[in-house]
């Protein structure tokens, strides 16, 4: 059986010391090992940004795609081979900015996969511009007078559009993140884990301490019921999104179970050679 070592590679990450993404990498490696997954059965697909480099340091099959396009790539992978464990990952700019269109539709579609968003409220790799999750008034290189836009409410949007699993995690609590990843990967359907993963270099506002002061752990609230959609939405609004833990669970049939052409055998494992007689029968259909 694979151990956490098998999900590691020798190449060292180039993230800044203290970056929240280290915690995400460690938690994901642990979660996969804990679940008894074999590295060759896992495909990690990422977008572009500091967060996207996650795939360069994770010892499974990987695809480092384009900015904002991890979700369509990952859905293509899963639909091609449903036997694989598919995880997509990226940042808040990648997922909720350039990739927001794909996000909403991936939520609706409900392909069985996990989506990890490393949300640091800023563009890090391009050295500090406001991001879709930056709060109003956030000062950055591209918002010198403070952002005048409302931050995107991605998790609420996901819940409103019928996501089947939504959680938030915090890089300051790796152990907890690990269990959330395990739940998300085990969940059958599209599972979102929005991780507050501070950028220690360019975001001097939304720091570890800032998140630590703001965040409430829902998993420690006895009366929180993650199957209550309205409660999940209300909680997000009341707490300005500053909660972590499992927010919402809504198990429903996956896309790949329901589509035309669904088969017991994964597509990639089908024998694609068609007998001549069947091809001729199809041709005869045109007569």
């Amino acid at each position: 059986m694979a151990t956490v070592k098998d999900f590691r590679v020798k190449e060292k990450p180039t993230w800044c010391p203290g970056c929240g993404d280290f915690a995400v990498l460690a938690a994901l490696q642990k979660a996969c090992a804990n679940l008894g997954l074999e590295p060759e059965e896992v495909v990690l697909v990422t977008g572009i940004g500091c967060s996207g480099k996650l795939v360069q340091h994770f010892g499974s099959y990987g695809f480092h795609t384009l900015h904002g396009r991890s979700l369509p790539s990952a859905q293509g992978v899963k639909l091609a081979n449903k036997d694989l464990t598919v995880i997509a990952a990226g940042g808040d700019g990648d997922g909720y900015g350039i990739g927001m269109g794909h996000f909403v539709h991936a939520v609706r579609r409900n392909v069985d996969m996990t989506y990890i968003v490393m949300d640091n409220h800023i563009y890090g790799l391009t050295t500090g511009q406001m991001s879709p999750t930056s709060r109003r008034g956030f000062i950055s290189k591209t918002s010198p007078q403070g952002s005048v836009e409302e931050p995107v409410r991605a998790v609420e949007t996901a819940i409103a559009n019928g996501i089947s699993f939504a959680a938030q995690a915090f890089s300051g609590d790796v152990k907890h993140m690990e269990t959330l990843f395990e739940q998300a990967i085990s969940h059958k359907g599209f599972a979102l884990v929005n991780v507050f993963s501070p950028c220690v270099t360019f975001n001097k506002v939304n720091t570890y301490n800032w998140f630590r002061d703001m965040l409430i752990n829902l998993d420690e609230e006895n009366d929180y019921d993650p199957t209550d959609r309205q409660k999940a939405l209300d909680t997000m609004y009341e707490k300005s999104g500053m909660v972590y833990g499992v927010l919402y669970e809504n198990p429903r049939p996956t896309f790949e179970e329901n589509i035309l052409g669904a088969s017991e055998t994964a597509k990639a494992k089908l024998d694609i050679h068609m007998p001549t007689a069947e091809k001729n029968e199809i041709l005869a259909g045109f007569r």
Binding site: G261, H273, L283
Partner: protein
């Protein structure tokens, strides 16, 4: 001058013009005639002008003809719009229930006018929509066709709706037939049918259907696409026929997602494609670069329409050529196939999947609305479904991987051919990270050092150095030395062929060349066949002469090349090509 019988029905969109044409043409195809049908339609649902034209011949044709023998007009607009196309002795059948006093121009006095109260007769049968069947019946009488030629087709099409519907449709045909037979007699005769060996009809198939079928035969089991005219029929055929074989169609949220889903699926080992038209193809450019740099197989089908922007969504054009050749930033190896017939749509699609996996690069197959949406008769033996055997390229076996030292597989290993054997997710000891960043041979991390960059770029760019589809890439017909050689790519082949024949009948030495693989371009053979041409007329459906520019770039002959361009949205007529040749000084004898 032009062979066959040409027939057209026209009216407002939403009146059932297409189903009238489809029933008439399908019935004739079943009877053993060779058919080519062209749909003229607009980007709206109700109103406007639409028509359906069918040309009937005794041999295979790829074009609906310049002129018209029979026109069925459901409204005055149809008469006005199509009058110029009518032959001097054509038959004009019009709906006299609606057109009490039609305006008929005076310049063609020998046209047979056939007023038929089509709408009233349809109401008599019980439903105004039946006027389509009445029109088929009238047409049958006018061309001397027995009215029961439609019976089996009607039973097949309407059988599920019950006997009453079937009977009413048959009755509508007979009412139309009797009315016309009693008043007009047989005004035109059909060419002889040339049925298949078993006495049955030919395949009646469009380029879009041929592409979708070719993909199924090639083992493609995943299509991600966004609805767009004129490519959507590829999705329709796939939805109807692929699921039985485990194939799935995903309607993506946009063409960016569609193309990237197809890349993801190919990466995971399923043959996958996307299909689109100009606007969608533009959105796919970045993804095409991703397939190129990550060396992931990808098949993209572009059914070209009038551009730019939203352009002419329901009209034909070949103006995506530059984007097919050069679209996407950076340098990538790519293959661009431009089939010129329905049969080639099948074969080239099958070939596209082999090439994509052999060279691990994007393969773009481009047709256009004219080839994609027109249905035509093809001989049953003209499509050999086993012609292109499936070849999955270099994929390492589980055994090969098991014999390798742990974690030493280098996905992008530099080889003599530039092609690196790949692995498929799920295979033990074959793990790798595909990257859109520049990367080294085996490391999962991006690199920026100049030496590696150059080595990896060179590796990718040399992959196609041995590419040669041989005589599949081009087709030349004509003498070694010509007064004029007509050159085109893709769907213009049929009109070019008819124009060449017309020129030859006039005693000219005329050649024709169709290029079917525009990248990598078959430089040497094309240079050779054009060497002996006095003049080169490049026939293409765009405003800037994109293909002529490519020809000049690849083989030269600048001084001999003349541009025969059309960008009105309609396919070329043979006459337009001949007129162009006529205007060329010194060419005509």
């Amino acid at each position: 001058m032009f062979e066959g019988l040409t027939w057209k029905v026209g009216g407002a969109q939403g009146e059932g013009i297409d189903s009238t044409g489809d029933i008439f043409a399908t019935a004739l195809n079943r009877r053993g005639h060779y058919i080519f049908s062209y749909r003229h339609f607009m980007s709206l649902i109700k109103g406007g002008h639409t028509h359906f034209k069918t040309r009937v011949c005794s041999h295979m044709i790829g074009y609906h003809g310049d002129d018209l023998d029979i026109l069925i007009a459901f409204d005055q607009t149809t008469i006005d719009y199509n009058w110029h196309e009518l032959k001097e002795d054509a038959v004009l059948i019009y709906d006299s229930s609606k057109l009490k006093e039609p305006h008929i121009p005076k310049d063609k006095p020998n046209i047979h006018l056939c007023p038929v109260p089509v709408t009233d007769m349809a109401k008599e049968v019980g439903n105004v929509i039946m006027k389509n069947m009445v029109a088929c019946g009238v047409s049958a009488a006018v061309v001397g066709l027995e009215p029961d030629a439609f019976d089996r087709l009607i039973e097949e099409r309407f059988g599920s709706k019950g006997d009453r519907v079937v009977d009413n449709n048959k009755r509508a045909i007979r009412i139309g037939y009797d009315y016309a037979a009693n008043r007009f007699s047989t005004l035109k005769t059909l060419p002889d049918p040339a049925p298949e060996a078993d006495g049955g009809g030919h395949l009646y198939i469009s380029g879009n259907e041929a592409v979708s079928m070719g993909a199924l035969f090639a083992g493609c089991r995943f299509l991600a696409a966004y609805p767009i005219t004129p490519a959507t029929e590829i999705m329709y055929w796939a939805l109807a026929n692929w699921p039985k074989y485990g194939g799935t169609v995903v309607q993506a949220e946009d063409e960016i997602a569609a193309c990237i889903m197809a890349i993801g699926a190919n990466y995971a080992g399923t043959r996958a494609m996307t299909s689109t038209s100009g606007p969608g193809f533009s959105l796919m450019q970045e993804a095409i670069g991703l397939a190129g740099v990550s060396e992931t197989p990808l098949v993209v089908v572009d059914v070209m329409r009038g551009g730019p922007g939203t352009g002419l969504p329901t009209k034909t054009e070949q103006s995506d050529l530059n984007e097919l050749l050069y679209g996407s930033h950076g340098d990538i190896p790519r293959i661009v196939l431009t089939p010129s017939t329905v049969e080639e749509c099948v074969y080239f699609t099958m070939e596209a999947f082999n090439l994509a996996e052999k060279y691990q690069c994007p393969v773009i197959l481009a047709t256009d609305l004219f080839l994609g949406m027109s249905k035509q008769s093809v001989g049953v033996t003209d499509i050999d479904p086993d012609k292109i055997p499936i070849d999955r390229g270099q994929v390492l076996s589980d055994e090969q991987l098991a014999n390798m030292e742990k974690r030493t597989f280098a996905r992008y290993r530099v080889t003599d051919s530039g092609i690196s054997p790949r692995t498929i997710p799920g295979q033990k000891n074959g793990m790798f990270t595909a990257l859109s960043n520049e990367h080294g041979e085996g490391s999962p991390v991006e690199i920026e050092d100049p030496e590696t960059r150059i080595r990896m770029m060179d590796k990718r760019m040399k992959k196609l150095s041995d590419f040669d589809l041989g005589e599949q890439s081009w087709e030349y017909d004509g003498p070694e030395a010509t007064d004029v050689t007509l050159v085109g790519f893709g769907s213009t082949a049929a009109q070019i062929k008819e124009a060449q024949m017309a020129l030859q009948r006039k005693g000219m030495r005329a050649g024709r060349l169709t290029v079917k693989v525009v990248k990598p371009f078959p430089d040497e053979p094309v240079r050779k066949v054009l060497q002996g041409a006095e003049k080169i007329v490049v026939v293409e459906n765009n405003a800037s002469g994109q293909f002529a520019d490519l020809l000049k770039q690849r083989v030269g002959y600048h001084a001999k090349i003349s541009n025969c361009l059309k960008y009105s949205g309609d396919p070329f007529t043979v006459k337009e090509i001949l007129d162009h040749c006529e205007q060329l000084k010194g060419v005509m004898v």
